[in-house]
Symmetry: C2
C-alpha cells in the first residue's frame, strides 16, 4: 500500500491498526508522514482520539484512534414492488431515522425517484442533518442490476437501463450504489449478524421469490446481475400454474405470497396481500397454515438445488412471508434436508433473518458505506474538505 | 506494488509491460533497480530478451522481454475413478509429453500416489528433464478438496483428509495444488479457450456427474469445496432409482455413464463402460442414442437450476459421455432452454468442451502455473538459484 490518508482511515475503521505506532508498523511510512495524515483526518472530523484513560473510553489506551461514526451519514433505500423503506444511517450503519411507505414500483423511475429524493430530504431534516453530511447512497430494487442500472427487470416496467445510481448521485452530490434487493439483504444479514459465514444464501419469500448468494465470501452477480434469480426453478413437474416467464411449475408462481393469496381466495378465504396471509397464519387459520407450509416445501425443493450448486452452511429466510415463520421454515427444512445429499447438509443450518423487514435497508447502507468509505473516496473527501476550509 | 523481481516477472508474463521503460513506468521503481532485477531474472533463465529486430522475434522491438517458457516444467495429473492422465508441461502450459493409464482410485492414496510419482518420473525422463526442472505440480481428483486434501470424497475410499498436495510437494521439491477434477476442467477450458467468459459452467458427464462453476470470473468452491456437486439435484420426481446418497431420482444416478450402461444391459445390449456407450452411439445404435438423449434431458433439468443460481453465458459439456456429443447436447439444450426463463437463456450458449479428454490435465497445469509463478514463488525461486550459483 502507498499509505494515503484514505488507507490509514481504512486500517482504523476495520480495527487493523488503531494507534500511530501500529499504523507506522502496518504501513512502513515515516512517523512524520503518519502524524500529518492523521492530523488531516482529525481536522476533517473523520477520526476521533482517546485522550485520557477512563470509563468512557471503553478501555482504549490514550492515543487510540477511532473513526467518527457521526462524521457524516449515508442514505439507504429498499424498494419493493409495493413498498419503499428509507433510512438515514450513521457511518456505523445504524439507522438514525427510518420510514416505510406504500409505493408502486411500476409507476416508473421518474415518479419513484422523485418520491425517493423527497423522502430522503424529509428524513435528513428529521435527523437534523443537511445534504452536505451525505457521504453515500445505497438503493435496492426488486430486479437485476448492472453498473448502476436495472437490466430488463420483469416487475419494473419503464426502469430498464435507467441510470438510477447516477441520478441519485447527482441529486445528493455523493456516490450512489444500486443493487438487486436480495443481494443487499444477503449482504446486510451477513455483515450485521453472520460475518463468519463464507457461504450463505438469503432467500426472500415475499410477493415474489429470489435469493442473494454469498459464496467464498463474495456476493454472486452473474451475467447481467441475474445470479440468484431462483424464482424460475421448476418446483413441480406437472403443474398447470402459469408463470410470468411463460413456463409452468416455477417456484415463484407456486410459492410466493401472491400464490398464497390466490390459493386462499380460490378456497373462499378473504385475503388480498402477503400481510393478510401472515395474519391468518399467526391467528391459527388451518388452511393458511397448510398453504404456507406447502409453499415452504416448494421453496425448499428449489433451495435443494441451490445447496448443490454453491454448498452453503446457512440458508437465511427473509421477506414478508417469513413473518409466518414456523410453517414456512418447517416446509423449507423438510424439503431441503429430504432432497439433499447428507454430505451437503451435514453443516447446513436454516433459520429466519434476524434483520427481518430491515434487511434491505441495512444491506443498502452497508453497500453505501463500503463504497463511500473506500480509501480513494476518503482521499477525495479529504481533498474537498481541505479545499473548502 | 513493491516491485520485487517476482512482480516484474508477473508483468512480463501477463504482457502488461515488456520493456524496461514500461516496467519503470508501471512500478515507479528507479531505472537502476529495474535493470538489476531484470538482470537477476535473465541470469536465472526465467526471462529472455529480443536483441535484434527480425522475423524470428515475432515483431517485438529490440529490448523486449519475454518469459522463457522452457525455464522449467510443471507436472499435471487428472485422476478419475478409473483412469489417470498425466502430463509434463512447459511454462506456457503446453504438454511436452502426456500419458493415460487405467487406475482404480479406490486403491487408496498410498498406492495411487506411488503410481503417480513413478509416472511423473517416467514422463520427465521421456521429456529429457530432471526433477530439478519441476517448478510446480497440479493434481485433479474426483471429489471435493479443501486445503490440499480430499474432504469426505464419496468415490475415493481411504482418501479423506489425506495430505495429497503436501506429499507430492515433498516428493518433487516444488509447490503442489490439489483441486476437484471438474474445477480444474472448468479453469482449463476457461483459460485456454474462453478467457472472455466471466460466467461459465463446465459440466462433466462421465461415470458420474459434476460441475465446475465460474461466476464473476471466480471459481466457486463453497463449504468444504463442495460447490458444483450437482449430481444430487433431483431430476425426476417419482423415480425408483436409488442413488449412493440414499435418495431417489438424483441426476447422477439416472444420467451418468454408469446409468447408461445399466439401462442398456437391462435391455439386453452388451455394454460395460461409458466408452462402450459412446461406441454404440457413434455406430448408430438407436437404443443407446435414445438413452443418451434422455440422459441429456435429465442433465439439462439439473443445469436449468444451475442457470438460475449463477446466471452463466456458457455451459461447456465435457466428460467421457460428451464424446457421444450430438444426442447428449441435443437433450441438454432441449431441457435447459425449455425449463429456464427466456431472460436467463437469451445469451446462453451450450457446447462441448474444446479440450475434450485433455481438459483435466490442462486445468491442473493451469493451477500449477498460477501457483508456481506467483510473484512470491518467483522471488523464492530466484533466491534459491542465486544461492546455488
Amino acid at each position: 500500500m502507498t499509505g494515503t490518508a484514505g488507507e490509514i482511515f481504512q486500517l482504523i475503521r476495520l480495527g487493523d491498526a488503531v494507534t500511530r505506532i501500529e499504523i507506522i508498523e502496518a504501513t512502513g511510512l515515516s512517523r512524520s508522514t503518519v502524524v500529518a495524515r492523521i492530523g488531516s483526518l482529525l481536522a476533517a472530523g473523520l477520526l476521533s482520539e482517546t485522550l485520557e484513560v477512563g470509563r468512557s473510553t471503553g478501555g482504549r489506551p490514550p492515543g487510540a484512534l477511532s473513526y467518527n461514526e457521526e462524521a457524516g451519514v449515508v442514505l439507504a433505500a429498499d424498494l419493493g414492488a409495493r413498498h419503499g423503506r428509507l433510512a438515514v444511517c450513521n457511518l456505523a450503519g445504524v439507522a438514525l431515522v427510518e420510514d416505510e411507505q406504500a409505493i408502486r414500483i411500476a409507476d416508473g423511475p421518474k415518479k419513484i425517484l422523485n418520491w425517493l429524493g423527497t423522502g430522503f430530504d424529509e428524513l435528513l431534516a428529521a435527523a437534523g442533518r443537511g445534504r452536505s453530511a451525505v457521504l453515500g447512497i445505497g438503493v435496492g430494487v426488486p430486479g437485476p442490476v448492472e453498473a448502476g442500472r436495472p437490466v430488463q427487470p420483469p416487475i419494473m416496467p419503464g426502469w430498464d437501463g435507467y441510470p438510477v445510481a447516477d441520478e441519485m448521485a447527482a441529486r445528493f452530490g455523493a456516490p450512489a450504489v444500486l443493487e438487486r434487493d436480495v443481494n443487499a439483504m444477503a449482504l446486510g444479514e451477513h455483515r450485521a449478524h453472520r460475518p463468519e459465514l463464507r457461504n450463505m444464501v438469503f432467500v426472500k419469500v415475499g410477493t415474489g421469490i429470489g435469493a442473494g448468494v454469498i459464496c467464498d465470501a463474495q456476493l454472486l452477480r452473474g451475467n447481467h446481475g441475474r445470479a440468484g434469480d431462483i424464482g424460475h426453478i421448476r418446483a413441480i413437474q406437472d403443474s398447470d400454474v402459469l408463470c410470468t416467464c411463460g413456463n409452468r411449475g416455477c417456484v415463484g408462481a407456486l410459492a410466493s405470497g401472491a400464490a398464497m393469496v390466490r390459493e386462499l381466495r380460490a378456497n373462499g378465504v378473504e385475503a388480498s396481500s402477503t400481510a393478510d396471509v401472515v395474519s391468518l397464519v399467526n391467528a391459527g387459520h388451518a388452511g393458511a397454515t397448510h398453504h404456507v407450509r406447502e409453499a415452504g416445501r416448494l421453496v425448499g425443493a428449489a433451495l435443494a438445488a441451490v445447496v448443490s450448486v454453491v454448498a452453503p452452511t446457512a440458508i437465511v429466510v427473509g421477506g414478508a412471508l417469513a413473518e409466518a415463520s414456523e410453517p414456512l421454515l418447517a416446509g423449507i427444512r423438510e424439503s431441503v434436508y429430504q432432497r439433499s445429499s447428507p454430505l451437503a447438509t451435514g453443516e447446513l443450518r436454516i433459520f429466519t433473518s434476524r434483520l427481518g423487514v430491515h434487511a434491505g435497508v441495512v444491506g443498502a447502507a452497508t453497500l453505501a458505506l463500503d463504497h463511500a468509505l473506500s480509501p480513494s473516496r476518503v482521499d477525495e473527501l479529504l481533498a474537498r474538505r481541505e479545499q473548502a476550509a
